[in-house]
Symmetry: D2
């Protein structure tokens, strides 16, 4: 009953098998392997972007930080949600990779609105050389709260950044979960909606560790390669990254896995809806839900061995009715039996 994160589950067997298959003979290092050629072609096809520059790295933080470093000068600021991974969970990696750019927090929720974004852009307006200069917006899809921007919402945000002459980055650590939730195409959710660069996640959706960075304008390709190498993120035995990504994109495995993860989340939410005293924060859209649960429910789950996060510390008040805010994440692999057992435990 592991609901703590989608980065703790197993990798999909087809992806592990692809790594094994790639382990034959000699392969050119540093991204010049034959598999990478196919990966590039495949991602371009999937995104209907025949010119896009495609590069692989092993962590989402690397994908985000390197992408932003190519889009943002050190005297600029990146606009993002206050709960964005780049702000809260990367230990200043974006600041490091951009050479000391700032992050400007937009609004007070996981989803930026065009109004809050426009206000934030405008606020940097009057200080000339003294304040940080405007840089790109970074949009997280799906958000850290498990919500999904509609295509129109993304387009509205990128329209604001474009009004101010700035680019738009999509942190797609959970790209696939959002995509299948929306039922749109990758191009609709990205460049057709004004996105310039994407961190296209694999790790949270069944890969051992691979993310693609996609620039729809290939003009940044060489700079990205240099920054990747300088950041120590260029793999010599690159074929094992390529192989993961190739398998991930083969036979729609990435979509199938994301649908499974989202369906697991729906099953969990539906189950919890029947538990007295439990209050869901949002209707589940992707594979994360937040719920306030009575301490008594939490205690039963803990005693039963369930693993998930409480958002605040848990100084036991002793009050069984005290509501504890909790987060649960479902990956592709968690079985119905696990979910049902969790719900049964919660019911008591």
């Amino acid at each position: 009953m592991f609901f703590a994160s989608d980065n703790a589950g197993p990798a999909h067997p087809q992806i592990m098998q692809a790594m094994l298959d790639a382990n034959r003979g000699y392969a050119l290092p540093y991204g010049a392997d034959a598999i990478m050629e196919r990966v590039t072609a495949r991602i371009r096809e999937v995104f209907e972007a025949p010119e896009a520059a495609i590069h692989l790295v092993a962590t989402g933080t690397a994908a985000n930080s390197l992408a932003l470093a190519c889009m943002c000068q050190p005297f600029e600021t990146v606009f993002c949600s206050p709960v964005a991974h780049i702000h809260e969970d990367e230990c200043n990696a974006p600041e490091f990779y951009t050479g000391g750019a700032k992050l400007t927090l937009v609004g007070d929720s996981d989803k930026m609105t065009p109004d809050s974004l426009r206000a934030a852009f405008a606020a940097e307006e009057t200080r000339g050389v003294h304040g940080p200069q405007r840089g790109p917006v970074s949009i997280t899809q799906a958000t850290e709260r498990g919500r999904v921007y509609t295509v129109d919402e993304i387009a509205a945000l990128t329209a604001v950044s474009r009004d101010f002459g700035q680019q738009a980055h999509l942190d797609g650590a959970r790209f696939a979960n959002a995509l299948v939730a929306l039922g749109c195409t990758p191009s609709e959710m990205t460049w057709k909606a004004g996105i310039d660069a994407v961190s296209f996640g694999g790790t949270k959706n069944g890969c051992p560790g691979v993310e693609a960075v996609i620039f729809f304008d290939p003009g940044k390709a060489w700079e990205f390669e240099l920054r990747r190498k300088r950041g120590a993120h260029l793999f010599s035995k690159h074929r094992y990254l390529s192989a993961q990504m190739e398998a991930y994109l083969t036979d729609d495995l990435w979509l199938t896995s994301a649908r499974a993860a989202n369906a697991n989340c729906r099953r969990l939410a539906d189950g919890l809806a029947g538990v007295p005293g439990v209050r869901m924060l949002h209707d589940p859209q992707a594979n994360i839900i937040f719920a306030d649960m009575p301490r008594a429910v939490h205690k039963r789950l803990q005693d039963g061995g369930a693993v998930y996060y409480l958002l605040a510390g848990d100084a036991d008040s002793g009050d069984p009715d005290e509501l504890l805010p909790s987060r649960m994440v479902t990956d592709w692999s968690i079985g119905d039996d696990q979910i049902d057992r969790f719900v049964d435990l919660a019911k008591g």
Copy 2:
């Protein structure tokens, strides 16, 4: 007949199998996996260093840059050979990770001498606040020219750095190749010889991509963890790194593979010694050799499909006797048949 690099061959099947075996159920992310606990214990045992801090990253450049960032202030300079990987092959990653420290090139060969190192340290002496301040020495073992420092040579270099109050780093991308060449223990080649931190390579010796950073004084452990995260080198699905390293160290696989790679190099060198006109630069010590070969020999090898590097460009002079400087690297996997075929081709 692939002799271009030891990063282009296949990973060892036992290591791939270990990754498969690790792919079961849920595991705590970010280095908290159970396999990592065993890896830490095992490396401490191998190095006879029960207090050492052990961390894994996926590239050698990350290992070097992060280790140096913990040992060197941005206003200091790292002392290294002019052909050190950190100087020539990391696209300013050490400068990036240290926040802009300098690299001071010592002597004019792959091996620093105590005299050249002392002279370089002393030369930074007289400028007070104006010049870069002295920082650590970084020693590459085996060197980029395939030579191996003796234990006494390492101790003599670290004695110099200690005289100036500085620490010593060992770039051990080919640690195992050097170790089996010397026939000493890991502790003798490192902390007993005055080394403070080691980049302990796995990738060039049969792993898909894993390096350990070892600090013998664990006081830097937490800073390293923060710098690793900030550098985007902390893997969420860390178990796949741990599994590689565990298999690498099981049943002496790392030593067996290094012995194989070195023996392959010896076989290649012995074969080439019999080729008229070919001149070896050094007697092979690890798994790299440099040879000047007549253009005619080179042409036969190229035509036969052999892969290796020429050190200078190859503007064809037409002169069959012109000597071309070349580098050949043998990995653990290259078969005797490949080596023998290469030598036969060279003989013509």
Copy 3:
């Protein structure tokens, strides 16, 4: 009628004379001049801090950024007000000098409270290696809104940072204005209240360009010197900085000038209180006031040649009663006649 900033007025004649006096013969460069020896002794005396490390730079941004760089690791975050100069007006200089640390904005006003600071510190608590680590607090005295922390308020803030094991920096660009407002001693406003390092401003209070950085614990002195040099802020002809600071501290010129500036502000505020429709934001404490003034008043002032800032842009609505938020700063040199003329103009 110049009320735009205290950095636009003339330097005090005694300070200019001191620079002239210093311009005789040869002087050791880079801070080794004899005047600097006297400045160090004098600042130690003024602050009752016989061990303090004292260094001069030419800009307030340099003082703040270099001080913070010695107090904050690149993976940490500095706590400050959302309107702090270090956040709004230094074009990412603190991020640059710290190597990419973050700034965490505390509360929503110019003055942090112990509660808001404690909440901000606590919020960084639960993310382990993932979030930025806690760094120092930076307190601006007087604030960018012209308000002054009491000694107790400062002590309460530094107590919070000390609870979390962190240091406290005081941005004293308007140190003297605050000091004379409180009527306390420099030591009471700083180290006795828990402050570890001070940017002690001269430029806004009658110097052409000099600020002292004071570390009460001299252990950081050498690191500061190296960071100052590396930041290109070490003056070769340092005596002209020393001479400014010496004159500034001679015969209480710094206090006299600050008292004059504050009194000028009081006179201005008292005058504006009699202008119908003008609303003061705060009672004046130092030498800055904020006032909402009817457009008609603003127009008269503009037409009369008065210079000051409107906080929002001025898209003329045509409505003479529309309230425009404005900021006025008084320096030591502005004459009563200028102030009275300004008030008369406002009255119409």
Copy 4:
């Protein structure tokens, strides 16, 4: 008898007077002062460069580092002499400001040659993404050894950098001394010879502290302004920088002072030529000479109170004939009497 450096002498009285004159009333801050407008016009006129972007900073290290930061990416390397100020005397400031670029040392003397520069550029050729990428060349005029590049020599160096697609920076801390030595125009020594950006020094030639950075292509102006602010080098009370530079350029004061300094050096060299046992390293070209002098001579000078640098430490061997390498710098202000007394002392 002060010959240690040209940064220890007094500022020229006309320049001090100009600062006094500037100290009247209110002036717009941050470079918007009226004097700066005139300075910009004047430098454009002096350099016959009506489009050039002109900015002032207070230190030579700031001028160099900020100029290079606008010309060089963090993954590139700057080509310079091994004795360049940017390499030896700026405590890693260029590395800091460029975000971690490298400095590649060209040749083994104070003057680069086209051949040594071409070889250095070519050597970075073959490593693709792995090595640092080529960046600009930085030429010091006059050199740290007091020698002056001819216009043709400068043009030959910039031709090499242009061949590799790179720009050229001139570190002109002693620009005026070189210019009057050559007897050419500022444009001939800079943009007509292929220079893209100049650090135009004032501090070593009679100013308290001011340097202009000149970009002949104004496209970098805004980026420079942002980097200057972010580096904390934008002065609020900028008029005192402007006033220095205006006086410096008025009535050819800068040329007169440089001619005086060079003539002083010539007089010193001529005098020392008559001292038995003293060996000059170069014929004096600007205002620095290097001489090997017998210990007995050195002792007489020291005892007489002369101040200058020995290049190596002075562990007294007791041998009166031992030759000690020394450096002497003459500024504009040193009197003939001081020089003659120095020579007389040396003669014994």
